[in-house]
């Protein structure tokens, strides 16, 4: 029998301890449900489901908690570091299992995101985290989403078992450079973080390949034991060290390429209840984090290169920082006015993708439509493109921006103010 009062107190402390981790995603999971097992849970394939939103605008998809917020490490940016004065608690394995199952049955959540402060040793801590997942999967036939935060120094056997139960494993790189990590998280080891991400990548790849091979040969026995089928992700803290956006994006880009991460999360270092005197006094503007996500997106899905994004039009030089007052695509377009207007009836898909205000979906729609009938201005309106923004950058049969519209130095100023209005929504 669970003591409700004690459990409520623990839940409050250990949710507080977990809230600074940006990830709460359940997307891209391998599709499964409980119809065959009679258990509880399913994953929704492509798009994850957000069951609620906190007043900070963030999706609540998973029960995101720490197993314990006792921690031996002294990571300066973290509310759970040894020297912090916050209240401490520790869940038992059964308590986390019960909360997960009961929340899930009420359709509050898609699953569990479990992480932990490091107590005693890496293996001891990881073993507890794995035990929760094991119990959920084996004893409760839980088929919902599980994301486990992995401790880089834990033994390979434990990681293999974690990969068997978890949909996703993650290791936070925390800071973009080894130097910052040494200064702000002296117990963390940059090399073992990299090594572990590499091991995870290998495990994930081998599992995926064995699945493909099994399908090809029509022999399911060839499939290796599951290993983190939804891949791995990581998080970087923004603004706790002096690293600029270019450095952060470069590190992210390298991680995407080398370890095929599903996501890099950027987390603007936030004021916390008991901050370390080692940290900058002022947290970075939240807009910086937002711009990093936009740039990350452009790098991965829009064919932009790193250099293109941190180039500043006013100063005509690399500054290493993304503009705060313009989204990175608009900033790039304004700096390359000579490439515009783009003729939407002729340009290739990749070029259309680079027009401010046109995203992947609408770029595809435009290309599809024009195969049948040439595009007119009314088509842009019907697709509900942001006309004010788009019209300065494109040509269609019955519309051509005046050269005055494109050359006008006021153009940048006009967008700056219109963007500002939107930003106040965040």
């Amino acid at each position: 029998m669970i003591d409700s009062d004690v459990l409520l107190k623990k839940l409050a402390i250990l949710a507080d301890a977990a809230k600074y981790d940006a990830s709460c995603a359940s997307s891209g999971a391998e599709r499964r449900d409980s119809s065959a097992t009679g258990g509880i849970g399913s994953t929704s394939g492509g798009m994850g489901i957000c069951h609620s939103y906190a007043p900070d605008g963030r999706c609540i998809s998973l029960l995101k908690i720490l197993l314990t917020n006792f921690c031996l490490y002294e990571c300066a940016y973290c509310v759970n570091r040894t020297s912090s004065n916050v209240a401490r608690a520790r869940f038992s394995i059964d308590e986390v299992v019960t909360l997960t199952m009961e929340f899930y049955k009420r359709n509050y959540i898609e699953g569990l995101f479990l992480s932990s402060g490091i107590i005693r040793s890496a293996d001891y801590t990881m073993e507890q985290v794995v035990a929760v997942a094991r119990k959920l999967r084996l004893e409760h036939r839980f088929a919902g989403y599980i994301h486990l935060k992995t401790i880089p120094e834990a033994s390979p056997e434990l990681l293999a078992e974690a990969g068997l139960y978890a949909d996703r494993l993650s290791i936070n790189v925390e800071l973009p450079s080894e130097k910052s990590l040494n200064a702000l998280a002296p117990e963390k080891n940059a090399r073992s973080i990299d090594r572990s991400m590499q091991n995870l990548e290998l495990g994930i790849r081998e599992y995926k390949e064995s699945k493909r091979e099994a399908r090809k040969q029509g022999n399911r026995k060839l499939t290796l034991p599951k290993f983190s089928p939804s891949g791995q992700s990581t998080q970087m803290i923004v603004g706790a060290d002096a690293a600029d956006d270019a450095t952060i994006l470069q590190r992210a880009n390298g991680l995407y390429k080398r370890y095929r991460l599903k996501r890099v999360y950027y987390s603007a270092f936030s004021p916390i209840p008991d901050a370390s005197s080692q940290l900058p006094l002022k947290p970075p503007p939240l807009m910086r984090e937002h711009r990093l996500y936009q740039a990350d997106w452009l790098l991965r899905f829009y064919g932009f290169s790193l250099d293109e994004l941190t180039y500043r039009p006013e100063s005509r030089e690399q500054t290493g920082m993304l503009a705060l007052d313009q989204d990175p695509k608009l900033a790039w377009a304004l700096a390359h006015r000579e490439l515009f207007p783009v003729d939407l009836n002729r340009a290739d898909y990749e070029t259309i993708l680079r027009v401010p205000g046109i995203g992947v979906i609408n770029a595809r729609r435009l290309v599809k439509q024009r195969r049948i009938r040439a595009l007119r201005f009314a088509d842009l309106q019907r697709l509900r493109l942001p006309i004010q923004k788009v019209k300065s950058f494109v040509t269609v049969i019955d519309h051509k921006p005046t050269s005055h519209q494109l050359d006008n130095d006021q153009l940048a100023a006009r967008f700056a103010s219109s963007v500002d209005k939107q930003l106040s929504l965040f």
Partner: protein
């Protein structure tokens, strides 16, 4: 003028096939939607998954075979759940017009992404799919304590929800597959779905939510309050994803107002608070110091 009276997708499909085989143009048909919810009356023991058209073989023998893009069928299926209180039959006439164009004129009609009829179809299908998504997200089950059976396995769960469109039948299989191992009912004004761990069944709607309370709501509210970071208050962003009309289903919504109004003060408090010396514990506890020093030494190697 031809009168066509249909209440659901399969009826529409049968009627449309008929009209098409008689070469009756869309302008000559008057569609009538009847009661939007009559579909629930007979559907007692529906099976999980899409129901097959009533008798495909029979209709194939008597009528010319219709070939339409699969994409049209899936969009039309979705759009057929669309409820427009002012013009309830509009969806059926739109679907028939598009079918007419697809079959008689141009199989690529759906690629005309800026054609008003195609856009209307897409908009309806999107509205229905959004509604389904919100229902999957915001249905909240409550445990009904059945008398004398406190054990979990006998627990029964109910939920109350008011979707904008006639989607209960469409979404119910999702819940049956997700919550296979528990018994539940989802009640809505337009129809109810029930799962007894074996069969999914449907029944007519009910006007009001049941009065139930569930002890785990307090746990969920506690979680909700503590996962919120007051230094990042963005109420508008929250409301655009979780519009107020859904709040009445969500036990956590009572927390929103106090959290939002207290956010600025608690952020200021965090910023103003004294900073803590990173040596605070280290300088007192040799156990901590030794453990940290061991790790730090390894990192320097």
């Amino acid at each position: 003028m031809h009168q066509a009276h249909v209440t659901n997708f399969d009826e529409w499909r049968a009627t449309a096939r008929n009209l098409l085989s008689m070469e009756i143009a869309p302008e000559q048909v008057h569609w009538d939607a009847g009661a939007q919810i009559s579909l629930w009356a007979e559907a007692e023991d529906a099976v999980v998954g899409d129901s097959a058209p009533s008798s495909p073989c029979a209709s194939r023998r008597t009528k010319p075979q219709l070939r339409v893009p699969a994409q049209f069928i899936s969009l039309a299926r979705a759009a057929s759940c669309f409820i427009d209180a002012k013009v309830p039959a509009e969806k059926w006439s739109l679907l028939y017009s598009l079918l007419w164009r697809l079959v008689r004129y141009d199989r690529r009609t759906l690629s005309l992404t800026t054609d008003p009829q195609v856009q209307c179809l897409n908009r309806m299908a999107r509205a229905v799919s959004r509604d389904c998504h919100k229902m999957k997200a915001f249905v909240r089950f409550q445990r009904v304590c059945t008398r004398g059976t406190p054990a979990n396995s006998d627990a029964f769960f109910t939920a109350w929800f008011e979707p904008d469109h006639a989607i209960v039948e469409r979404v119910a299989p999702f819940f049956a597959k997700r919550f296979a191992g528990m018994s539940w009912s989802i009640l809505t004004p337009y129809g109810c779905a029930h799962w007894n761990q074996r069969v999914l069944s449907l029944s007519t709607g009910v006007p009001r939510p049941p009065a139930v309370s569930d002890e785990y709501e307090l746990f969920w509210q506690t979680y909700y309050c503590h996962i919120f970071n007051p230094a990042r208050l963005k109420e508008q962003a929250m409301q655009s994803e979780m519009p107020k009309k859904y709040w009445r289903y969500l036990p956590e919504s009572v927390c929103i107002k106090p959290l939002a109004s207290g956010a600025a003060a608690s952020t200021q408090q965090m910023l103003d608070a004294d900073r803590t010396d990173p040596l605070r514990v280290r300088s007192r506890s040799s156990r901590v110091r030794e453990a940290q020093d061991t790790l730090r030494a390894q990192n320097r190697q």
